[in-house]
Symmetry: C2
Subunit: 186 residues, 2 copies
DNA sequence: ATAGTTATCAAACTTTTTGTTTGATAATTG
DNA sequence: CAATTATCAAACAAAAAGTTTGATAACTAT
């Protein structure tokens, strides 16, 4: 009475995700047929429908997977974190996560599906940036959420560039840039 | 021998754009059928195919229209512009343009099609921000294109929020925030 | 190791949506 | 007002989506 998840389901999901990523690197998401995905994944079309409604459903599941992965990383590091600078720690985790899942992020960005992804990156970043800025004295009279949106937009925009161009600068440089560009006081 | 564009064509394009915007506010772009668009636009499906390959084609035409509109605004103001601060002038034009086309931008953002749009907003902003930053002394040793990506990402992210929430603050306040947040020296 | 369960499969099928073609009609242009 | 052409309805062909079947192989749990 373990109620283990059937290995075949795990495998099917895996090959479907991989197939989708591969195809999204080759052509527009909109032009990808469900039969293309099944051919690439080497599974039967009826098996696809046993798991997903349509290809958007599959895409969302893939992005959700990414999200869970990130949340786990955050949880893992939260425990060992005693540090003075939460926000930089958070960015470090984010950078490592994105670096590890670069292929997936790349295929998503190539297909203009960034909205969904960016939304949860913003959400994650926002948790700690807001408190970082609040802790420090704010000298302008710009609303706090406008300020955070500004810096998070900047972070994400540089991040997107970095995902697309892996080798322009290292993870360490990237983190250093962020540290320099985000002020303590606003 | 004027070679005027047939009024019927102009009208068809107009109702197709309007239909697409209306539908994109109601449901996912992916779920919109060509026959939905035609029903909404009150035109025959064969007429649709006389103008566009598919719905992506229509979407791209709509975005292109937006782009041309912005370029015209920029050109118009370029002539009367003698000012000290090009970049703030540019942002002002951008804000007015987006405000005027808010409905269209909103429907695009709702459907996670921001990539295409953001790309050309970035392109436009980039023209003058780079020179603004270059003119002033840069005291950090961060690459110039990383810096511009940062601030443009911030501008666009605030802009997106403003498009979605019209009444949070006025155009004038928005411009003021930008002016405060974008430094002269980096 | 095996009995029981269930995910996958191939194959045939229905339905939906796309895309094309026709010739008639009405709107637009010059 | 004559010539042109965009739109229309309607019928069609083709492609893709989605469903159903029963057989088989893979997996789980005891």
């Amino acid at each position: 009475m373990k109620n283990k998840i059937d290995l075949r389901i795990i495998k099917t999901n895996k090959v479907l995700f991989e197939a989708l990523i591969t195809l999204m690197e080759q052509k527009d998401f909109e032009k990808i047929k469900i039969s293309d995905i099944c051919d690439q994944a080497l599974i039967n079309r009826s098996t696809f429908y046993a798991h997903y409604e349509d290809k958007y459903d599959l895409l969302l599941a893939m992005i959700n997977d990414l999200k869970n992965n990130l949340e786990n990383e955050l949880k893992k590091n939260k425990e060992e974190d005693i540090s003075k600078n939460y926000f930089m720690e958070l960015l470090k985790i984010l950078i490592n996560h994105v670096d590890e899942k670069r292929e997936t992020y790349n295929s998503i960005l190539k297909n203009d599906k960034n909205g969904i992804v960016i939304d949860f990156l913003i959400d994650v970043s926002n948790r700690d940036l807001t408190s970082r800025l609040k802790k420090n004295n704010i000298i302008s009279n710009i609303p706090i959420d406008v300020i955070t949106k500004f810096y998070i937009g900047g972070i994400v925009n540089i991040g997107i560039d970095w995902i697309k161009n892996k080798d322009k600068y290292s993870k360490e440089e990237l983190l250093l840039y962020f540290d320099k560009l985000i002020p303590d006081k606003v």
